[in-house]
């Protein structure tokens, strides 16, 4: 294979010393080193040859680096090197992670001071994504890891106001671009999913979580398990395929080209909003009571704007 360029060799030499300085007993495998340095394993001998030739004539110190079969070893303290601060590239990515996960400001400040480059004016963010982790990811992920029962204030789709729940957090999961907490609702004694951006407060209790036999259901399974269902009519199959709804069940194409489907849902308000926003393209089938409620809901909305 071709030799590494001087620039690459310098970077790899520094990285190898960093990797070995941090490794238990200052030893690691050739494969692990190659992965850390992003080079082919065959490039390792060239890097080792270069680094092991380093010496200080005045003090007599030298780098005692050996490659014995598959194992790289660094002997003595002379070549140990502290981990460098992050590069601008790494700092840009890390700043994005800190921002999007909304870690608390104190933690962010510690991290910035410890590993980000000093004296560099922070560059305007060049990476973005919609906010979806809310303000409590840090605390909830800690609770999941440590098994802590939590008290959580949450506003569901059906609630006008937020309510407190006692939960055993189980996992954070992502679906259709939204991030959810899967947790056991202790009072309901049932598995529930909560959107992270609707959580308004989380506090730890003194209790530990209990095992509940949670199934870690996705939204579709969760809706089938606990939701209601209706039949809907839509203009055609293509229209149906564009609807990014987890609760869509059995689909049928009608002789006139229109389509019908079963929809599982857990919030009437959510269902009504989808029907109203479709402007008549989606129609409830065989649900006269719901139709009456839909019309009343629409009148309420209208009144709220005309007031």
């Amino acid at each position: 294979m071709a030799a590494l360029s001087a620039d690459r060799l310098i970077s790899c030499g520094i990285q190898l010393l960093e990797v070995l300085s941090a490794a238990p007993g200052q030893r690691c495998t050739r494969t692990a080193a190659a992965q850390a340095l992003h080079v082919d394993v065959d490039a390792i001998p060239q890097i080792v040859d270069t680094v092991s030739a380093l010496s200080d004539r005045t003090s007599g110190a030298r780098v005692a680096l050996t490659l014995d079969g598959e194992t790289l070893s660094l002997t003595g303290d002379a070549a140990l090197i502290m981990p460098r601060r992050f590069s601008l590239e790494e700092s840009m990515v890390l700043a994005h992670v800190l921002d999007v996960l909304n870690l608390d400001e104190e933690t962010r400040e510690h991290i910035r001071a410890a590993v980000m480059p000093l004296g560099e004016a922070p560059e305007k963010a060049r990476i973005a994504e919609p906010a979806r982790y809310g303000a409590w990811f840090g605390k909830l992920s800690e609770a999941i890891e440590d098994g802590i029962r939590c008290r959580m204030t949450y506003r569901s789709l059906e609630d006008d106001d937020a309510h407190e729940r006692v939960i055993d957090p189980i996992a954070v999961t992502e679906e259709h671009g939204e991030t959810y907490l899967i947790a056991w609702n202790v009072e309901k004694d049932a598995e529930r999913r909560y959107r992270l951006d609707r959580i308004q407060d989380v506090t730890f209790t003194e209790d530990s979580i209990e095992q509940h036999g949670a199934q870690l259901m996705d939204t579709a399974a969760s809706l089938r398990e606990s939701g209601q269902h209706v039949r809907l009519a839509v203009p055609n199959l293509a229209y149906l395929q564009r609807l990014d709804w987890a609760g869509i069940g059995e689909i049928a194409e009608e002789p006139d080209g229109s389509a019908t489907c079963t929809l599982f849902f857990d919030s009437k308000h959510w269902l009504f909003d989808q029907l109203l926003s479709a402007g008549g393209d989606i129609v409830l089938l065989d649900a006269p009571e719901l139709v009456g409620e839909l019309a009343a809901y629409a009148e309420e909305l209208l009144a709220s704007v005309d007031r």
Partner: protein
Amino acid sequence: MNTHEPLEGADQGALNETALRILNLLFILNSSSVPLSTEQIVSDVDLGYGSGNRASDLKKFRRDREKLAERGIAVKEIKPTGGRASEESLWTIDRASSFAAVGAITRDDADALMRAVDECLSRSDIPFRQALLDIKHRLDAMSSPTAHGAQAVADGGWHEPSRAEDAMWTAFSLKRKIRFVYRDAKGAESQRTLEIWGIFMQEGHSYYVGLDEQTGSVRTFRSDRIVRAWRPAGHYTVPGWFDVRDYLFLPFDLGGGMSELATFTFPRDMGAAELRALTKGRGSVVRTDTEIRWSIKVRNMREAARFCLVHAHRGMRPFAPGKLVHAWKDLMGKAVEAHGCAFGR
């Protein structure tokens, strides 16, 4: 940024000499307990200086310091205090700016950060996976050097990015222009040269935004539609006015004609996180005594009304202009009438 670029057909011996000299400079400065004088360094033949031409060796020493600085290691000059002007400088590694202050990160900080990094790594839509893996491995080594270190690298989820993905990220992080072949939604291929000003992730995809030389305008390209990419070349700067968050899209962004300002309202007690998620952080938000008002430019007023209805259960309502409110009422009226009911009478 690692480039994976091997040397091809160059004089390997001479290049190794350069690498050896610069690495040796780092080694002697790092292992020495006292700063070293300029003379000690530039006269050291074993180190790779001492050519007999002092001016040339001084220039070489300066270039070598710059090479180390590019890799995050700052060599600082110490001027003798109260000494004569002719007295030579001393040199040492600026440890505070070069090395991480490992002790400043508490175990809790490190744990919180690791959980955040792991959460991002669990996603499939991130274009900076390799940089994140590097961060994870380095944090691992910093926070618990005796327990993790290099072995953790072998255990970690190694992901080989595609060549195009790797080239695009390199171009972005180094601010270099990149030429690539793009296949649009209709399957048509075109060759573009792009200054990647920003990257955003949305709905399971990542997108590159920047100045497209072909059209001379700011364009957005979906990463999975990039067929192949060439080596990045040619620097650029990102204009101060550019904000990648403006490119997070909303359903009413697409449409012909000029955009118009539309205003929506939300209940005053809506949580900040929920509001930020819904608005994508775009537009302007004003809190009045009774409500929150969100104003944003809209290209398709009917889609804006539809968006408002989709989020009606969260208290979102149309406020202005009149045609937004009219479109909102019209959608509702048609929906109710399609169910055989009268509306708004």
